[in-house]
């Protein structure tokens, strides 16, 4: 992969220079929460890595949008209003999240809503330092090789910039003098040093490789009942998970004339109605069954099919679930390790 070097002070100039490629977005600190917001003014933006509450899936797969309109004459897709966007500061785990969603939405037949938005979104990745809840090393998603256009590795006074796509290359070519083509040996050395350092500070280390077997064996484990009893079925875990994609669909009509939209909005497998079918039969009436689905889906099914979990280790469920039901506590409990969690009290 092409790797360049950029002095830190050039980043702002660079981002200003590529505004022509689309709206510039980044993660901002809104007092007590991190969210994606438009960066219209970079003058007091600090370009620090931050983990937004809602992962970047929301750009490709918005919480709620209209799929198409209909009227007496028929259906017409609503795809045209998608803006070009440049997202700065996407973290490695979230890039992995997008790769998993790419696989799902890109599979035959590709989902045009996701694909179109993905196509129109430029991903500028940014290296991070793990926080208290990050477990990306355990899921092997702390490094990225694809899924971005440019990736900025922060080495204190400069960035190493990995060019991950032809569009990324276009970006670099807008003002090539902002980048240094030639990397010296000590740059790579520094990078390796940095990586070693960073990898050593993941607070959560957990071995997921055995999970499929453990899940298989713990199908009847009392853990499921226990977490099912405490789960609030609030769905927060699924909303914040970078690889959760479930959605529901409703038709909405206009008043007074036959015209309307088909709306797609995020849904959660934690909700009771999720698996309900005709005549009220529910395949997952109990919360424990729904939780089991989530965890088999993330930690068993995906590993079985693609060799890795569909958990990307971002730690959001760890941060989000009010009753401490998350990949770490559940996986530990299934392995028979002691767990200190609300649901276990």
């Amino acid at each position: 992969m092409r790797v360049l070097k950029m002095q830190k002070e050039n980043l702002m100039v660079f981002l200003e220079s590529i505004r022509g490629f689309g709206e510039l977005w980044g993660v901002v600190d809104k007092g007590n929460r991190f969210v994606f917001d438009k960066l219209d003014d970079l003058s007091d933006y600090d370009f620090k890595p931050r983990k937004p509450m809602i992962p970047p899936k929301l750009f490709m797969h918005p919480p709620k949008f209209s799929m198409f309109r209909f009227n007496e004459k028929g259906y017409e897709a609503e795809l045209e209003e998608i803006p070009n966007r440049v997202i700065f500061g996407v973290l490695p785990c979230d890039i992995h999240g997008l790769l998993i969603l790419d696989r799902l939405f890109g599979a035959e037949p590709p989902d045009p809503y996701y694909m179109k938005r993905r196509e129109k979104t430029i991903i500028l990745g940014l290296s991070c330092v793990p926080g208290d809840t990050c477990l990306a090393k355990a899921t092997n998603t702390h490094v990225v090789e694809e899924g971005f256009d440019l990736f900025f590795s922060d080495l204190d006074d400069y960035y190493l910039v990995w060019v991950g796509s032809s569009k990324g290359d276009d970006l670099v070519r807008v003002q090539p003098d902002l980048f240094e083509e030639k990397l010296e040996y000590k740059d790579l050395e520094k990078f390796i040093e940095w990586k070693k350092d960073r990898d050593s500070c993941y607070p959560v280390d957990f071995d997921f490789t055995a999970m499929p077997d453990i899940m298989e064996l713990s199908y009847n484990s009392p853990v499921w009942e226990k977490i099912g009893e405490k789960c609030l079925a609030c769905g927060s875990c699924t909303m914040v998970c970078p690889t959760c994609n479930c959605y529901d669909v409703v038709d909405r009509l206009a008043l007074g004339k036959f015209e309307g939209i088909r709306e797609r909005h995020w849904d959660s497998c934690m909700y009771k109605e999720y698996s309900m079918v005709a005549v009220g039969h529910n395949f997952r009436e109990a919360r424990s069954q729904r939780l089991k689905l989530w965890y088999t889906h993330k930690l068993q099914g995906f590993i079985g099919q693609f060799g890795k979990p569909s958990c990307v280790g971002c730690g959001r469920c760890v941060e989000t679930c009010p009753v401490d039901i998350n990949v770490v506590t559940v996986a530990k409990a299934l392995k028979g390790e002691p767990v200190e969690a609300f649901w276990n009290r």
């Binding site: 994609n245 849904d267 999720y274 005709a278 005549v279 099914g301």
Partner: protein, 283 residues
């Protein structure tokens, strides 16, 4: 213009017309549907066991098995029970009304593998919907299959779907058509009375390893029927069943039909008993 959008957008339904509708029983109707575009109507290909998403603008979408056989192109048939909003809206539509359809979706029956085998088709209640397609496919391509058994159970004679059609099938000598009702409240039911499993006594002379079994019906039925097949020594991967799950997209995106990481809409709705054994949630 819309053609282009449609081609790249699998969520936009194609316009189709209800050609005819028949009352089968109280809350079940048969809908005959044809693509508005005649060429599309004649070239639409599908497999028995596949399903389509029927869309009523302003109400929503729901998956329905195709009940007609691909061996008779032109018309699509759906056998539909009125249970909720989409089906209610559909039941209100008159002949010639336009609806939207997407599909066909799902794996369908592995016809290529089934060719050359004996067939035992077991259906209960609305389980007719997908299996009728398989049945007529086999009858239309009669020489490709060995023995063909049809076992169908309904609660009462009045609740038997396609009753006249199936009663007539009993006249055929290339098909063993076994019909039963749990209870004969009419007192002139010409066939068997008893649960569908009790029909197995009439299934004779099949070579289990050269037999495919197909089941569809209410969830309670599977266990008992599968038990019978196992007694016959039919290999587990040759026992096939159509499953139902909630579905919003039909193309593996919305997540509702997922079991572990298996999407019922992509990898199903036809599964083998072997799948069921290693995927606990399947039935």
């Amino acid at each position: 213009m819309r053609e282009v959008v449609k081609e790249e957008n699998p969520f936009i339904p194609e316009p189709m017309r209800i050609v005819r509708r028949y009352n089968l029983i109280d809350d079940v109707k048969l809908f005959q549907v044809r693509a508005v575009d005649m060429e599309r109507a004649l070239t639409l290909r599908y497999l028995p066991g596949q399903f389509m998403m029927i869309s009523i603008a302003g109400v929503g979408e729901a998956p329905f098995s195709i009940s007609s056989t691909p061996s008779r192109p032109g018309l699509l048939e759906f056998c539909i029970r009125e249970v909720g909003s989409v089906t209610q809206a559909l039941f209100k539509l008159k002949e010639n009304a336009q609806i939207g359809i997407r599909g066909p979706y799902g794996n369908g029956f592995p016809i290529e593998k089934m060719v050359g085998h004996d067939l035992i088709i077991v259906m209960g209640g609305l389980g007719v919907a997908p299996l009728r397609s398989l049945l007529y496919y086999a009858l239309d391509n009669r020489n490709q299959f060995g023995k063909v058994y049809l076992l169908y159970g309904a609660k009462r004679p009045a609740e038997m779907l396609f009753r006249e059609e199936f009663l007539a099938l009993r006249e055929r000598d290339d098909l063993e058509c076994l019909l039963t009702v749990d209870q004969d409240d009419t007192r002139d039911w010409p066939c068997h009375t008893g649960l569908v499993t009790s029909l197995f006594q009439y299934v004779k002379g099949i070579d289990p390893h050269k037999t495919y079994a197909a089941i569809c019906g209410p969830p309670v039925m599977y266990k008992f029927v599968i038990g019978q097949f196992l007694k016959f020594n039919i290999p587990k991967h040759q026992i096939l069943m159509n499953l139902e799950r909630r579905m919003r997209c039909g193309v593996g995106k919305c997540g509702h039909c997922v079991i572990e990481y298996i999407y019922t809409c992509l990898d199903g709705p036809v599964f083998s008993y072997w799948d069921v054994i290693h995927m606990k949630e399947l039935i």
